[in-house]
Amino acid sequence: MPDMLLKVEGLQAWYGESHILHGVSFDIGRGELVTLLGRNGAGKTTTLKSIMGIVGKRSGSVRFEDGETVGKPSDVIARLGLAYCPEERGIFASLNVEENLMLPPVVKPGGMSLAEIYQLFPNLQERRRSQGTKLSGGEQQMLAIGRILRTGATLLLLDEPTEGLAPVIVQRIGEIIRQLKARGFTILLVEQNFHFAATVADRHYVMEDGRVVDMIAADDVQQSIGKLQGYLGV
Amino acid sequence: MNGRPLGVFVGYGLALVAALIAPWVAYPVFLMTALCFALFACAFNLLLGYAGLMSFGHAMFFGMAGYFFGHVVKVWNMPPEVGLVAGVAGAALIGLVTGALAIRRQGIYFAMITLAFAQMIYFLCVQLPFTGGEDGLQGIARKPLLGGLIPTKDDRVLYYVVLAIFVFGYASIHRIIHSPFGQVLKAIRDNEQRALSLGYEADRYKLLAFVLSAALAGLAGATKAMVLQFATLTDVSAAMSGEVVLMALVGGLGTIAGPVVGAFIIVTMQNYLASFGEFVLVIQGAIFVVIVMAFRKGLVGEIAEWWKARRRPA
């Protein structure tokens, strides 16, 4: 049993009056890559945001490395060693590529150096002086991922990294994610693209209506394909 | 369910009775001044509370209308009715020109632009001979109204004239707010994108609201010049613009009666604190701060909320 890096129990969350998460529970072991699957509106992004502390109101328990984080503000949570890559990527237009990469502060030792990140993403090095938003969708996604590798964070929260990208880029991102896993990062991935998720994940959690309703290990995916298709409505 | 609760009718009834007997109880010139400012504050609130546009330069309409009135009555020697019309028309025209330009930006920029235009007009007033510069237009005679029928030299008689003007203005605002035009304005204020997508030319509505507000502020300013018999630089100053914002804020933005209450409070306060000199500014500033931090709905607004909360089933 791998040691638990993140343990979420009974997480609830609200956007203003809307009650989005009704009690999410799951856990992630150190070095695992776990996905959150589910249809649109199931609450996957909200779960990531709640763990990161960005959602307004939340209750329940989120334990990272055995410390409770659910009540803490997002900058404190980040400094514990979590990093977030949002769905909209969040590349800053008023910063160039290198400034974007250097922005997140180093919170723990052990993060990748700028040189190592450029090795992983050579095209970013070529365009390091370009304004952040002048990059293509795929390049911006790589920038968004590359940004959080420098910080020393051990748990990466990635929200739909392949959304809207060409198949070639999607493959590249898959390779990168596998490399990151090999380097020891723990990853929580939200994905709509199940086929992509299946190529990288150790386990899949399925969400529906703000709750986790099932867990499927990578080995069991083949047998459970019908069940999965039902959940995802494909 | 038919709109207005009984309480509102009773309230208006009592207010009317109070208004009618007031000049026998309080100093008429004070009452008239308060009524003018009440109308001014209501005109400002029409723009902010209902169209969602904060003008920080409303003094330009109030003050310039006073100058127009004074000029028409004193220099051109015409009857006060013509002066009032001149004041309203002049203010509306200024409103049209400045509004057309200010509307091009939203929110806080709009406020800054109106402030800047008002400041420009202030500087013009300092320099142009027609305003009498630093001295202003003094000694505007109180001429009788309606060709001699109404002797305005008597403060009590004039009070009822001013009361009538105020009621006219207030009723007009009420009518505007509850008209289809007013509904569209509210829709634009709440969600301009949506209103635009429904086909409403938001800018036109906003401009019309601006001009109406300017005209009514002009009516207030011209009437004040008629009552107090002078028009000076103070009336077009940034301080005056700030004061009307304070009145509406104290009374309650977005309520019809709020600005009236706010105006009476502020005018009374200024009377009592006149001997304190510049300290009045400090108090006014403190009121601004306290209201923004704690009582955003203003006096009438907070009372209305409290009343509603009481009547809600537990």
């Binding site: 900058d75 990093a83 | 920029y109 800054m112 500087f123």
Partner: protein, 281 residues
């Protein structure tokens, strides 16, 4: 020609103040009406320090912005912070109220007349086409240096990158571990410090009076609308440029000199409402 060069002195103040306003607006989304009062406090602090403690101008140039900047930090923590979630107009109203309080207090204590402040540099400099009072030349140069230094700090340093990013997307920046609330407080303090610095520079040029700020800030609002608040360099260029325009108007048609900036504002609104350097917000 002399008038035009003197216009640059006004332009220096326009630039410094509109820069401060723009930086504060970018991060806090609040139009700091108190800016004029803080400018005035800067001048007063220098005057008081000279009168009561014999603190010379050059020390006041450093101390005054620190003191007033600290005061700004207190305002931000105690009051501004609590209203960020409201409509931006409330920020305007709050800072307006604070300006009234501050100016009212200063007026009440010291009256509205002006007190002179001795210029630290005397004499004139021959520029070829005119002889300019050396102190005024110093003001223009100092303002340029400060503005460019601010520009450099924001556009080229790490802290500036934090600021720019937080202006765009404060939530995400906070999720990276940066203490954004503290950054906001710091930004306000710096903007206020800039205003106070301008005040110290202004003290020998105009009389130190309780009203010196309001008159100026109203014009600066027009400058800010003309420039748009989108860019730092834009605010600087617009400020100095309008100073020149004002100077030119004093030569060509003196009565219009204090309204010309407003006329320019009207023209800019007609042609490019977002401002010369602005992006549509």
């Amino acid at each position: 020609m002399a008038q035009v060069a003197l216009g640059l002195v006004n332009g220096a103040f326009y630039a410094m103040l509109s820069l401060g306003l723009a930086v504060i607006f970018g991060m806090l989304n609040v139009i700091n009406f108190t800016h004029g009062a803080q400018f005035m406090m800067g001048a007063f602090a220098a005057w008081l320090m000279l009168g009561l403690l014999d603190v010379p101008f050059w020390a006041a140039l450093v101390l005054s912005p620190l003191i007033v900047g600290l005061f700004g930090v207190v305002i931000e923590r105690l009051m501004l912070k609590r209203i960020y979630h409201l409509d931006h107009l409330y920020g305007f109203l709050l800072t307006f109220g604070l300006a009234l309080i501050i100016e009212g207090l200063f007026q009440w204590k010291w009256g509205s007349g002006g007190a002179p402040y001795p210029a630290p540099i005397r004499g004139g400099t021959d520029l070829g086409f005119m002889v300019m009072p050396t102190y005024r030349l110093f003001v223009v140069v100092a303002a340029l240096v400060v503005c460019l230094a601010t520009w450099y700090a924001i556009e080229r340093t790490r802290l500036g990158a934090y600021l720019r990013a937080a202006t765009e997307n404060p939530t995400l920046v906070r999720a990276f571990g940066i203490n954004v609330p503290r950054l906001i407080t710091l930004t306000y303090g710096l903007g206020v410090g800039l205003a106070a610095l301008a005040g110290v520079l202004a003290a020998p040029v105009q009389q130190v009076s309780a009203l010196m700020g309001t008159n100026l800030v109203l014009v600066v609002f027009a400058v800010v609308v003309i420039g748009g608040m989108g860019s730092i360099m834009g605010s600087i260029v617009t400020g100095f440029g309008l100073g020149l325009v004002e100077g030119l108007t004093k030569v060509v048609y003196p009565p219009a000199s204090n309204t010309v900036i407003f006329v320019v504002m009207a023209l800019v609104l007609l042609v490019k409402p977002a401002g010369l350097f602005g992006q549509s917000r």
